[in-house]
């Protein structure tokens, strides 16, 4: 068993992993008596949404990055990476449906998402071809299902959430985002043959990273939305959870009235709500809580050790999630 050392046999980045992943997906879909049009549909969905910008491994290939960082052969992590990609894509399609972003073809999208999730589990059976033991394949599959189930539980809580406090918001973020990401990194380390402490370290790293991504998302969703801001959509958001948990009665009432207005489409109310959130320290809180989860991820990576460039890439990626965290402590 290796424990995070560097393999001189691996040059990084090494290969067109996407081609390997795409071929593996095709192989899996070809093996069953799958309806031809459904097979083609799933492949086109995959090509539309999951094809990387460049053939080299990017951060969506998290299991491969971790495998390489642990000194493993990246080819062994390809089935894991495919399962991870399919899970993410299936979750993305379902998330779009749950968020009301789908205006047509909803039944087909739901059916595509479910098919992708099943295909993701099926593809793990290919790990045997890469020399992974049956016991490890079973362990990987069980943990994938557990992580997916945890994410669904988090999503359920998110959909039904009202009046969250920051602790509850973070529990939901850890379930929705931390658990699947934790699986992806843990699985990459497992197929690399990493020791228990390294497995745990990479899972902690990615779980914390997943929470940090959610924090960053809510920060942008309130103050820098790409389209409709979070305050106008009534989705549970951490800045609001913070503000409602610390503000006095008058401010809470004022904020709630502004949020009600924002949800009715009142642009001025939305603007004033964002300003009020700033005034009660919500941006500062987002930075501090982001810093806590950033530091947790850094500590986890430090504990696993190793000096492979892929590990440094994981660390650099962490720093890029929330650039506002970097340098502000310098004043």
């Amino acid at each position: 068993m290796r424990s995070g050392g560097r393999s001189s046999a691996i040059v990084w980045p090494v290969a067109d992993y996407w081609s390997l992943e795409r071929q593996l997906i095709q192989d899996v879909l070809d093996e069953g008596s799958l309806d031809g049009s459904y097979r083609q549909h799933l492949l086109s969905v995959l090509d539309q949404w999951a094809r990387p910008e460049t053939p080299n491994a990017d951060l969506e290939a998290l299991p491969i990055l971790v495998c390489v960082a642990c000194g493993g052969n990246p080819r062994r992590a390809v089935p894991v990476c495919v399962a991870w990609r399919l899970l993410r894509l299936g979750a993305k399609l379902l998330d779009d449906v749950e968020d009301g972003d789908v205006s047509e073809g909803l039944p087909e999208i739901v059916n595509s998402a479910v098919g992708l999730v099943f295909a993701g589990q099926l593809v793990l059976s290919k790990l045997g071809d890469e020399g992974v033991t049956p016991a490890h394949v079973q362990h990987l599959t069980r943990e994938l299902c557990q992580a997916g189930l945890t994410a669904c539980g988090g999503q359920h809580a998110d959909l039904r959430a009202a009046g969250l406090d920051p602790d509850r918001w973070l529990e939901i973020a850890a379930a929705k985002s931390g658990a699947p990401m934790g699986w992806a990194a843990w699985a990459g380390a497992l197929v690399a043959g990493a020791e228990e402490n390294v497995l745990a370290g990479y899972r902690d790293y990615a779980s914390s990273l997943g929470v940090l991504l959610q924090i960053s998302d809510d920060y942008n969703g309130v103050w820098y939305p790409d389209h409709v801001g979070d305050l106008a959509t009534n989705r549970p958001t951490l800045p609001v959870a913070y503000a409602l948990s610390v503000a006095g009665a008058n401010e809470r009432g004022q904020l709630q009235a502004l949020l009600d207005g924002a949800q009715r489409g009142d642009i001025e109310a939305d603007k004033q709500a964002r300003k009020l959130l700033i005034d009660v320290g919500a941006q500062a809180f987002m930075l501090v809580v982001g810093r806590v989860w950033h530091d947790r991820a850094v500590q986890a990576l430090q504990q696993v050790g190793g000096d492979h460039p892929a590990r440094h890439q994981l660390l650099a990626a962490l720093r890029q999630v929330f650039p506002a965290l970097q340098g502000h402590s310098e004043g």
Partner: protein, 120 residues
């Protein structure tokens, strides 16, 4: 984190010291607050002006090539070089407040089109 929320509120709004607010915090939370005291010493409005935009999840997942990543000092330098907007300018165009946007940093060839999961 609820106690951390109260601590941040105490420092930012109540202008209390770290020692006044850190009683219920974990060691990690206290360390984060200690490191970020200069940030928390700013007024909320001042902090809002200097904050940069965090990348969206879809932008972040596209990040792969470290060669394109600015160093912290590069980022910080570019942030300070940006024209400090007036409050009215900031409110009317918050994206101009500081530094380059993430899409400018990474020159994301797909622009703002998200093909990857967001908020998953």
């Amino acid at each position: 984190m609820n106690s951390l929320a109260r601590a941040v509120h105490g420092m930012v709004v109540g202008r209390k010291s770290l020692g006044d607010v850190s009683g219920d915090l974990t060691a990690q939370e206290r360390a984060a607050l200690a490191d970020m005291q200069p940030v928390l010493a700013r007024s909320p409005e001042d902090l809002a002006r200097v904050l940069a935009k965090a990348p969206t999840q879809s932008e972040w997942w596209r990040f792969a090539d470290q060669a394109k990543a600015p160093t912290q000092s590069e980022w910080w330098r570019s942030a300070h070089q940006a024209k400090a907007p007036t409050q009215s300018e900031w409110w009317s165009s918050p994206r101009m407040a500081q530094a380059p946007t993430q899409s400018e940093w990474w020159s994301n060839p797909k622009g703002s089109v998200s093909r990857t999961p967001s908020r998953v």
